[in-house]
């Protein structure tokens, strides 16, 4: 009984800041004002999102160039696909860099039980600073006439075009979201009981086998939540592509911002938001399903 009362502030918080805004978005997506300022129900927002009279060539992962086909899709579908492409690549790179990092960090943490881990601290420290400032710092570093290119110039190489392209955006995303991949994996890895690994070794498994059959499967929940924590913000960000993309990129986050701030079309903007939410919810659903299945395998039971 007491617990329930303690939960009231949280329920109120969620009602005001999560449920109400969601309902507002849904409301805006389905309504518009006519010329006399009267509110009416409409599906025009969703129709605009899927409008076939304003199309662009579809080119996910450069496939169209590679296979030589020309498929015209509604502009927002292309924007969503492009966002998905960059988010997927960033997530995979984060995982490839983040897993070994988490593994090494976990090993160190375990080796010096109880003491705070200096390396983990170093890893988290940049996160104390605002993401906007960190991204600006990359601009100053990697500009065509920035610090790195000037330095390379002394060595007689370059200048390289590091930013204002896919590479720049990917770099910004990986840099900003890497800790979100490392931390959950790290916290799962440190909790794996050393006795399990010792048991595997006693039973004759070499270190590769131990890793593949024991450590890695046990760390899957960490990987899944890491993917969740990186993929979702990477999919929806508009700050990083704006700064590191040289203003040339329209990802789904920018497209929604534009609808509200520039086109002043709340109906289409909200419809786009809903589309994005459905997309994100669906991918989360797939991930949790995968997580359940892997735990049903008996390893984590």
């Amino acid at each position: 009984m007491r617990m329930r009362r303690l939960a009231y502030p949280y329920v109120l918080w969620m009602a005001v800041f999560t449920v109400a805004p969601l309902m507002l978005v849904a409301f805006y997506a389905l309504t518009a004002y006519d010329a006399d300022g009267r509110l009416f129900f409409t599906l025009q927002g969703f129709r605009n999102v899927f409008a076939t009279d304003n199309t662009v060539a579809f080119n996910l992962f450069g496939l169209a160039d590679l296979l030589g086909f020309n498929l015209q899709v509604p502009i927002y579908i292309n924007v969503l696909a492009k966002s998905l492409e960059i988010a997927l690549i960033s997530t995979v790179v984060c995982l490839l860099i983040g897993y070994p990092a988490a593994y090494i960090l976990a090993k160190r943490s375990r080796a010096r039980r109880g003491q705070s881990n200096f390396w983990l601290f170093l890893f988290i420290m940049p996160m104390w600073m605002n993401a906007l400032l960190r991204t600006y710092a990359w601009l100053a570093l990697l500009e065509p006439m920035g610090i790195v290119n000037t330095f390379l110039g002394y060595l007689g190489i370059g200048p390289f075009q590091f930013i204002y392209n896919d590479f720049g955006i990917g770099l910004g995303m990986v840099y900003n979201y890497l800790p979100f991949m490392v931390l959950p994996i790290h916290s799962v890895l440190v909790k794996i009981s050393p006795s399990l690994i010792e048991a595997a070794e006693d039973l004759g498994a070499d270190s590769t086998r131990t890793f593949l059959r024991v450590t890695f499967p046990l760390s899957l929940p960490g990987i899944l939540s890491g993917i969740n924590m990186v993929f979702m913000p990477a999919m929806t960000t508009f700050l990083i592509p704006d700064l590191l993309g040289g203003g040339r990129y329209l990802l789904i986050g920018n497209a929604i911002e534009r609808q509200f701030m520039v086109s002043r079309d709340m109906t289409t903007g909200s419809a786009l938001s809903i589309l994005l939410m459905i997309f994100v919810l669906a991918s989360m659903r797939i991930l949790t399903k995968y997580e359940q299945e892997s735990s049903e395998g008996g390893l984590l039971a």
Binding site: I75, G247, A255, R264
Partner: protein, 381 residues
Amino acid sequence: MKKVVLILLLLAVVVAATLSGCRSGDGKTILTVYNWGEYISRESDTIAWRGREYEIKDVIAEFEAAYPQYKVNYQTYDDNEKMYAKLDTESYDILVPSDYMVVRLIKEGRLQELDQSRLPNVKKYLDRRLDNLTYDSDQALSDKVSNYAVPYMYCTVGLLYNQEEITPINANDPTEVWDILFDPAMDSRIGMYSSMRESIGVALNYFGYSLNTLDSGELDQAKNLLIDQRKNVRPLVGIDELKDKYVSGELLAGVVWSGDHVVCQIRLEEAQEDPDKLQYVLPKGSNLSVDMLCVPQNAANPDGAHDFINFLYEPEIALINAVYVGYSTPHTEALKGLPAEIISNLSYYPDEETMQSLEIYYSSEAIDSTYDRIWQAILAN
């Protein structure tokens, strides 16, 4: 019961926040100014320009000293459309939209008529040529503009290029002038504004079409040109951040407002470099744009707004701003204080004939929505 208390508390906070908006702690009335970035002098400095020295002052501080009853809350934007988007939720006392946006705001009843009797400086010093421009296809509406808005600065849209790297362009034919923007050899060395009208306008002008066309064939051509440019030339897109990149040589050419070219030259002079390294050409049929001071219908402090406009038309203040901002001033007295090379340059201060060859952006529901649609498609590529 608790919920009621909570809601009341929340309401109290909201009401307090709104009320405190009009007065600052020391009993001064707040004047909220919403202006373009880098569009008013905010520093005390000496600027050397074409061999002349100018003493620059912080104009906002000067205003607060001259009118101690006001405290200025100064905010900036870099895009007419972004400014427009804020008007529903915020209350400003002074806005500085471009001509076509002024017309749109008048049409929508969002501006208040100015009390000309409170603007004696404007009456005395304004270059009346700017009042007689045609700001809308509807002449009656165009005539109304001067009742609602006072020109602050004006400029033309042209090509800036680095003549150390690019062969001089001696033409005013738009196709010849703009050609370099679409040359794949200039990969990543071109600058474009992120604003919709400037980008589409340049593409339309390149083909020799009107900047206000609604012909879908012409617009499609412009759209495809810009999409190809994004793919093959990969221009850098921005507003104020581009200026330093022209100065440093990172960008070799780009679309600029004439005022930005002047600012780049002043920055070169400051760095002890030859200002004429960066050249400016104005093609025929390009855009003339006038940014105007106006007062929104929902302004909290219209009195202060009138005082502010009048203050900006003090000859000394207008000169400081003209030097600092670099755009063309409509102030007949301040003009006399500027370097002779600047005033005699027809690209900055067009004569009657040049003015006739330029076009002003128009705004109508059809134009606004069509251009926005095209712009989205360009961005999505």
